[in-house]
Symmetry: C2
Subunit: 131 residues, 2 copies
């Protein structure tokens, strides 16, 4: 479970933590229903702020990977490997494939990011122009 968060990789610590938790669930190191380390202990272990762990946990809960119970703790979702995670896993595989193809065609990561940002915003723009 323990890893070394790299603050200077440009990758947000909470995202690194999320990936780590997911990976541990996939490998079976964390079973459905099992309790995750508390926010404060884990934060102290990783030498990061508890709030950063809390954010990672909250995001994971939003993805349906874990379940947060106020006062009780954080637990691996019962159907973590079944529904939500499976869906995200498929999505992740699709994304990975696309990124891989793009990179193989010589498109830089920066370019890929721009393309996706443009595509995502294209769908979320409220409406047309006012005039």
């Amino acid at each position: 479970m323990l890893f070394r968060p790299n603050p200077s990789s440009g990758v947000p610590i909470y995202l690194q933590l999320m990936e780590q938790v997911k990976h541990n669930i996939e490998t079976g190191a964390l079973r459905p229903g099992e309790q995750l380390p508390g926010i404060r202990p884990l934060a102290e272990e990783l030498v990061i702020n508890p709030n950063t762990v809390a954010k990672a946990y909250r995001e994971l809960e939003h993805e349906g990977v874990i379940e947060l119970r106020h006062g009780a703790g954080a637990f691996v979702s019962a159907n973590a490997r079944k529904e939500q995670t499976e869906k995200l896993r498929a999505a992740q595989a699709m994304v990975a494939a696309t990124v891989e193809k793009l990179q193989a065609r010589g498109i830089t990561g920066q370019e890929i990011r721009r393309l996706f940002e443009a595509e995502l915003t294209k769908s979320s723009v409220t409406g047309g122009h006012s005039d």
Copy 2:
């Protein structure tokens, strides 16, 4: 050529401008070799800062879409519709298809963004974990 940049759509103005220029090249409104509007006049026309136009132009040059000649002006690249733009167009189509599929599966834009960020950073992280 003229459009209304929407500062509150969450889409960077310089990106909107880039898309607009590309679109005009695709539709033939701007021909290869043709000179684009100057940075200052265009900025005044769009009621934005000249530097924002400059950034869009610089990015477009980096993509090979246009060519900047210091003191002379900005010109549509001779092979704008052939090589570079075609490549980016294909990439954009690929990205669009992936995003569309993901959204059809109920994945939110925010989730998609996270997935891509994770995937992109996964490729750029220096090494693995130390312990």
